[in-house]
Homo-oligomer: 468 residues x 2
């Protein structure tokens, strides 16, 4: 399948909602209302109603006009399959059945799902799902998720395409987004994957100019080899991070009961991923944290990290996290040049620690913090900087946010922010995010993201060695 | 030193603030205002003012009336030492110098700190600090922290005494508290520890009836052996969790520049702690998460965990986390009895997964969730339950919170909550906390807390074996 074949799925000219409803709380109502907000023509299909929320209803997909590129099917399983067949007959190229009750529900459900798969195999239409929350593309204002989620404005302008077998991993990521900024280009829930799968998404978003990093939550992979081959092709241009759940015996068994598929051996998966230029995440938070850094920061040239803060404890913990090897990826604490140390000493209070980790103490001011950040960014022996902002001490104010963001954005190396807790933390993290700063609410997560950047550099080096 | 000797420090009849000020943002003003709210007599000491915020000011500690048990010294280092000497002369038993600029600032600062230490050694007064944020005891309304922190009401009724060399670890914990509930009995920042140290706090809070778990953030320990001996005495009655920072070479070096002390070898510390019944945490979040579970839940009888959720992915990840051994502590996924599976099947939707991890799917309702929780709690093959609440699907409502909390509180085994992201998550976590439920905002953190409960059970068994 070519790169552009899914363009109409993610940028449909018009949309149909089969099972559209006025009943509050019903999926058919939530999806319909959200799609109305996208600014596209939306056609409600409901055989027993004349209008839905004032929009004339069609009685069957057969009545749909030309130009409907996507039909979201919000009914239960059996009627959704019939609707999919009717949509395909009407020439709708993409259907999105959201209901559960398919493969995961036993033989009758499997038979229903096979009818959907047959439609796709016959080339009559493509199917996203079933058993999925669907998708959310902030830049298209396209949202079929039928659970409440965070403020979509936070997703705008982001570069991460998050593809997930599980819808809840997506809503959790959107929650992260609304708390502290994430930068989502697209969320796609694949559900039971009777047709469209990770490989299709990898191809599509690799070619999407707005996507700068691809993140996957995967429980099982039918076309593992093809996915990895494609990943190796994509990886030199765009980083790929995968959370492969079902790492343990019980986890793998749980995948079976959850999706009706068997998960592969974890060790085989781990080994294979590295070979093919794919970074792994151990949980959904790490998946999002690392993707956010990869999408938003320049590449790391080396593994030497400088840590700047106002609280000695977080410098110590930061150093501990930096020097703890994780899955073969080893960061180091940078050794600052004498010129850098002198430059910091000139602005800091006398009892500040001017070696790495730098501790400006609670007596720090905006001006001290800014100049010290500049000194660390300028030091050629520093490959990445973690600045720990903290807006509780009297000398640290919100006025620091904009000029600091400017320094961070202009830096030719990755600078990550960790904002210590305070009443203004979330607001500052969101503002940082709007200003293009990659920030985290814990030192461990900031270091984990830095480790992801260094792992990316190692993967690029290893792919280019093999290519030579 | 006896167990009751610090009672007046943490429950002073009257308090003095040396360096009290009216200048907005000054430490002397913040501390003075906060102490006024405690309902005790508070005496501002300031030689150049007649009143401070309407309260008559004293010109010197020599003028303090009888009954002042604590003097908070908010001036810079040198005047604070003079004030400490004057307070001691006046018979004030406890002084709390907050300023930096002592041992960590070089020879002159060290000389100042030695004068404070000499006061204590001579038995003239006890010193908390210097270089500390001080303390926060919600039940006493006693708060000397001079950085903004979370809503103190959230700390009320808690059982965790958090003792920290670093003040920022405390404010970070208070941030956690205000986000999702923590349950703090006391926070004490030890700072440079020229006199009062971890051993004093261990003795005091071990004897405090309101303290159910002791949590320590430690960078260096002068009396390591005595602390561990005391810990072994306390541990059979109250759990002790320690975050020992400076685990790595750079971390240990950073401790040196931060506090002027050398940290011990990490491996020695790790081994010794286990022997003496102390649980270790790797970061401040784990310190708080594990302490909260230990303070708020019944003991774990075994290591078999059941996971209940509405999102297959979090069941799979939960199983992965449960079965991943961490530092020798191994949890297992429980095997549910046929009766339990049948009981769940009777209430669940047909395509729910009724084995462990139980996945009620997004079609779950309050009633399904409640009955399934009861079934898991009743299963004798289940030692701990993690319920993953999620208030986004239409059938899951806030009406579940109170009856679910009732089931969890009545359970004779630990039940931990993990609340998936949604617009209501923080509010639900706070309400759960008020109702005595121990909840976390990520599955990894809930499992980590469960692992802490099982580690506690192993420690108790090992201590009692050795005692026989």
């Amino acid at each position: 399948m070519g790169e552009r074949e899914l363009e109409r799925l993610f940028s449909p000219r018009a949309v149909a909602v089969v099972g559209a409803s006025e009943a509050p709380g019903r999926v058919g109502r939530i999806v319909f209302e959200q799609l109305l907000r996208s600014g596209r023509p939306v056609y409600p299909v409901n055989p027993s109603r004349q209008t839905i929320l004032g929009v004339p209803a069609l009685h069957s997909p057969a009545e749909l006009p030309d130009g409907v590129d996507l039909a979201v099917l919000t009914t239960t399983a059996a009627p959704a399959v019939t609707a999919a067949e009717e949509c395909a007959a009407r020439g709708v190229p993409f259907v999105l059945p959201v209901a559960g009750g398919f493969r995961e529900a036993g033989p009758a459900g499997l038979a229903l799902e096979e009818r959907l798969g047959a439609l796709a195999r016959a080339g009559r239409c493509r199917v996203l799902g079933p058993n999925t929350l669907g998708m959310f593309l902030p830049h298209e204002r396209l949202d079929t998720l039928f659970v409440e989620h965070g403020d979509e404005s936070l997703g705008r302008g982001g570069g991460v395409a998050l593809i997930s077998q599980s819808g809840s991993v997506g809503t959790e990521a959107l929650g992260v987004a609304s708390n502290s900024g994430f930068g989502m280009r697209a969320f796609v829930g694949l559900g039971n994957k009777c047709d469209l799968d990770e490989l299709d998404m990898l191809r599509h978003f690799a070619a999407d100019p707005g996507t700068r990093c691809l993140a996957f939550y995967i429980e099982s992979l039918d076309e593992g080899r093809a996915f990895l081959e494609e990943a190796r092709r994509v990886s030199p241009d765009k980083p790929i991070v995968v959370l492969k759940a079902g790492r343990t015996r019980s986890g793998a068994l749980a995948v079976g009961s959850h999706t009706g598929r068997l998960a592969g051996s974890d060790r085989v998966v781990d080994f294979a991923f590295r070979q093919y230029g794919v970074q792994r995440a151990q949980d959904d938070q790490q998946l999002c944290d690392v993707s956010k850094a990869l999408a938003g920061l320049p590449p790391a040239r080396g593994n030497r990290v400088a840590v700047l803060g106002l609280a000695g404890a977080y410098g110590v913990m930061g150093a501990d996290f930096v020097e703890s090897e994780v899955r073969g990826v080893q960061l180091e604490m940078a050794r600052l040049s004498p010129a850098t140390v002198e430059r910091i000493r000139r602005v800091a209070v006398p009892f500040a620690a001017c070696q790495n980790p730098v501790d400006l103490t609670a007596s720090a001011t905006d001006a001290m913090f800014l100049e010290t950040t500049r000194a660390l960014v300028d030091d050629p022996g520093v490959d990445m900087v973690i600045v720990s902002t903290f807006f509780a001490p009297p000398g640290m104010t919100e006025a620091l946010v904009e000029p600091l963001a400017e320094v961070l954005r202009a830096a030719p190396k990755p600078v990550l922010d960790f904002t210590l807790y305070g009443p203004k933390t979330d607001a500052c993290l969101r503002r940082f995010h709007e200003l293009g700063v990659v920030g985290y609410p814990s030192i461990e997560r900031a270091v984990r993201a830095a480790r992801g950047l260094w792992e990316r550099a190692c993967i690029l080096a290893s792919l280019s060695r093999r290519a030579r």
